[in-house]
Amino acid sequence: MTVTALLFASYADALGRSSVSLTLPPGATVSDALDRLRELPGGSALPPSPLVAINLAFARTNVELSPGDELAVIPPVAGG
């Protein structure tokens, strides 16, 4: 299956891109997707347990992904 990973702020700077298309085996979890991102150039900048959201809602890293999901990897927020 294919999911889209979105990167923001310092994470986007580290990986040099703001979105990555990932092809993952069926049953892959958020953790699996994060491991894949860490293999990319600059991916070591991602922390052990970053905040993530699936399709606009915060999610845990053990959640299984579905084809077409939008997985956002969210740096510490700093609004206001």
Binding site: F8, S10, F58, A72, I74, P75, P76, V77, A78
Partner: protein, 149 residues
């Protein structure tokens, strides 16, 4: 009740007018602005970016939560993104309620939840030319890392 993420300068007076209602006795308006100093470094400006659809959704939820929890529909919040100069407003929250305690508490609820949950990031521009993303969790993490194990 309304929330928005915008790219134009914010207008606190307009938001204040938006929550006006003769049933209310108290209006609290919070304005967050770009200041010239952070952690002892001179700042010359700020750049805000957002995961827009999720930020809009979280902000709308926060306003709904504040309305339900504190008993008023007169809650409006706008957050600006893009490049902001010193003194410019990044966020305005206007809340009105029949009674002041709830107006203050609802206002505080919105700004604290916004800072904790809304996917917005800011990059500070320093006087020395450097730019850095602000990480509100860094100080806490560094303190933890320094604890004797």
């Amino acid at each position: 009740m309304r929330s928005a993420i915008v790219t134009h300068p914010l207008d606190p007076a307009a938001l204040t007018a938006e929550v006006a209602n003769v049933a209310n006795g108290a209006t609290v308006v919070f304005v967050g602005t770009v200041r010239d100093m952070n952690d002892g470094r001179a700042v010359t400006g700020m750049e805000y970016t957002a995961y827009l659809p999720m930020a809009e959704r979280e902000l709308r939820r926060i306003v709904e939560e504040a309305a339900a929890r504190f008993g008023t529909n007169d809650v409006v919040v706008e957050h600006r993104i893009g490049e902001l100069g010193l003194g410019e407003a990044s966020v305005v929250i206007a809340v009105a309620h029949p009674h002041r305690a709830n107006a203050y508490d609802a206002s505080r609820y919105v700004i604290e939840a916004l800072k904790a949950r809304v996917p917005i990031w800011k990059r500070e521009w320093y006087a020395d030319g450097e730019r850095a993303w602000v990480d509100p969790t860094r100080a806490a993490r560094e303190a933890l890392a320094e604890e004797p194990s």
